[in-house]
């Protein structure tokens, strides 16, 4: 669906980028990496705003760029919606004018969310007549987001679009983006350094460092790996695909996954909805005997399949298998020896029902 291969160097001995990755189907690909690793540079090259030294970008069979064959479609014909790190709103147009700018130029056949819908979802109704100069930082970014969406692009490029939003607004916008992604079958390249956003949105992850691709793959696979820099983060963990199974007598929602069922605080989704849960390693505890009288609601029989070093000296990751599903648990080295944990040992995995508030959206 999207194929990107780029080589670029700023100046004679400046920053060098050499990155290639592919995206097979619609969905969100997160570009993830530290400041200055080349994320914005990649977006600019894909959008056509930077002409890389050499490279090839193909979207849905359309060659956007192929320096070898001398092809370089101008940005206005690439139909890549871009949300810039610095909103770049048109100062001479009102918020409404900015939003409509892209909408007016969208090809007649293209579908996507309507003006009213975008305005409502981004909370822009009160701002429509305002000029960008009179908006707060977060408000500006919301308008930029709406503007890009309304242009009905074939590919959406977002450069830390939520960094300037507060948690509340972010939580509101995230599912909207997710819905958009699903409804439109739109591939999205998403630059972020918040794993929270990766979990909620990303299907695939491209890990970057110093202009190179460190690893690339499905989010679930990549985040379960303990050998990547991701594991050092406090929110390291695995993603678990599951389905809303119904409501428990206690009012909790049953989430069925391959190998068992989890109980979560009530979910609004109808029965049958597929969800993605991030089970963070730090939230998983293990017990060698079945515990009783515990507020922890999810106590699942599991088998330790491997023990790998954690990010700190006293920490390890336990890889747990619950049926075909995998979980990571982060425990102290001390607990390993104290409880005699070892690969092959049968344990109970403990997960609090309230830790699933942080759900990836349906796919």
């Amino acid at each position: 669906m999207l194929e990107v291969a780029l080589r670029h160097r700023y100046g004679r001995d400046g920053f060098a980028l050499e990155a290639a990755f592919g995206v097979a189907e619609a969905g969100v690909t997160a570009l993830f990496g530290p400041s200055g690793c080349g994320k914005s540079t990649i977006l600019a090259a894909v959008a056509g705003l930077l002409r890389p030294d050499s490279g090839r970008v193909v979207l849905d069979g359309t060659v956007l760029l192929d320096t070898a064959r001398g092809i370089a479609l101008p940005p206005e014909r690439r139909r890549c919606g871009v949300v810039f790190q610095d909103a770049r709103l048109f100062p001479h147009l009102s918020v409404a004018g900015n939003l409509r700018y892209g909408q007016k130029r969208a090809p007649p056949g293209a579908t996507g969310p309507g003006f009213e819908e975008v305005v409502a979802l981004l909370g822009l109704a009160a701002l429509l007549d305002r000029r960008p100069a009179r908006l707060s930082g977060g408000e500006r970014q919301r308008v930029a987001l709406g503007r890009a969406l309304l242009a009905r692009p074939r590919l959406l490029l977002m450069d830390e679009p939520l960094a300037a939003l507060d948690a509340g607004r972010r939580a509101e916008v995230l599912p909207f983006l997710a819905r958009l992604r699903d409804a439109a079958g739109l591939p999205i390249l998403y630059v972020t350094h918040a794993l929270e956003e990766v979990d909620a949105l990303a299907d695939r992850l491209v890990l970057l460092q110093d202009g190179r691709v460190l690893a690339e793959g499905g989010v679930e696979a990549l985040t379960a790996r303990t050998d990547l820099p991701l594991a050092a983060r406090r929110d390291a963990g695995t993603l678990l695909s599951c389905q809303v199974g119904g409501t428990d007598p206690g009012g909790l929602t049953r989430l069925d996954f391959a190998g068992g069922t989890l109980l979560s605080t009530a979910r609004p989704e109808p029965v049958g909805t597929r969800l993605r849960l991030r089970i963070r390693a730090r939230d998983v505890a293990v017990a060698t005997e079945e515990p009783h009288g515990l507020s922890t609601r999810n106590i699942l029989a599991a088998e330790i399949t491997a023990i790998s070093p954690g990010s700190g000296p006293q920490e390890v990751f336990l890889q747990l298998a619950i049926g075909p599903s995998k979980l990571l648990a982060r425990v102290t080295q001390d607990s390993v020896s104290r409880l005699g944990l070892a690969p092959g040992k049968q344990v109970w995995a403990l997960l609090k029902a309230v830790t699933f508030d942080h759900l990836g959206a349906a796919r």
Partner: protein
């Protein structure tokens, strides 16, 4: 202050010529500014110099060159007269043309400065939203460079009110047709004791310029609001 009928005529004519010259020069100046600032072609530099030509040679010479080109026997003026019946020499239109040529480099300069103010990032944003070259220019670049265009127009208007050498040489000094205020002032200084008349006419010139500036200031304020800098 009482004005004679002839002076009134000169005032009207000056305004007419200055405004027409701005109207005539503005669009070509904007296009030229774009070409010079954004274009990459051989000879760009020579063109840039050529645009400045009216500034670097005396106005009388410009008028003379215009006379040679647009005169009834000139290579442009001849056909223009023969085929379309358009005469520029010795007419108000001609005075406006001479004035427009003289102020052309001033407008181009101002417009280029205005163009440099436009953040390329915004044009890039417009591109990603699907705006092609012309579209982008009309909806983003042009509005954002408008302070430069306004400044250019005002300077050209003021300079147009004062343009003398090129007009008298090209369009002659015919009351009611080409005798603008500066020409009337000149005529006054040619008469012994004409200083008082000249000073009075200069005062009128200044008043017109002030009015033009006032208007421009009002437009600029509005523009600032429109550009969201308010």
């Amino acid at each position: 202050m009482e004005l004679s009928a002839e002076e009134w005529q000169a005032v009207r004519l000056s305004l007419d010529v200055a405004l027409r010259s701005v109207a005539l020069g503005l669009v070509p100046a904007v296009l030229m500014a774009l070409l010079l600032s954004r274009g990459r072609f051989p000879g760009r530099f020579l063109l840039d110099a050529l645009v400045h030509l009216p500034l670097v040679v005396p106005p009388v010479v410009v008028g003379w060159a215009l006379l040679m080109l647009f005169g009834l026997r000139g290579p442009i003026g001849g056909p223009l007269n023969d085929w379309f019946g358009i005469r520029l020499v010795f007419t108000t239109e001609g005075a406006a043309l001479a004035t427009a040529v003289m102020s052309f480099p001033l407008i181009v300069r101002a417009v280029r400065l205005g163009l440099d103010q436009v953040d390329p990032g915004l044009e890039a944003a417009a591109r990603t939203l699907g705006a092609g070259r012309v579209d982008r220019f009309l909806t983003v670049t042009l509005p954002l460079m408008s302070p430069g265009i306004l400044a250019g127009a005002v300077t050209a208007f003021a300079a147009g009110l004062g343009e003398f050498g090129a007009v008298i040489t090209f369009a002659s000094n015919i009351p009611g047709e080409t005798q603008t205020l500066p020409l009337a002032i000149y005529s006054a200084t040619q008469s012994p004791g004409g200083e008082a008349v000249a000073a009075r006419l200069a005062g009128i010139s200044l008043t017109l310029a002030v009015a033009g500036l006032l208007l421009a200031e009002l437009i600029a304020r509005r523009m600032h609001l429109l550009l969201g800098r308010g």
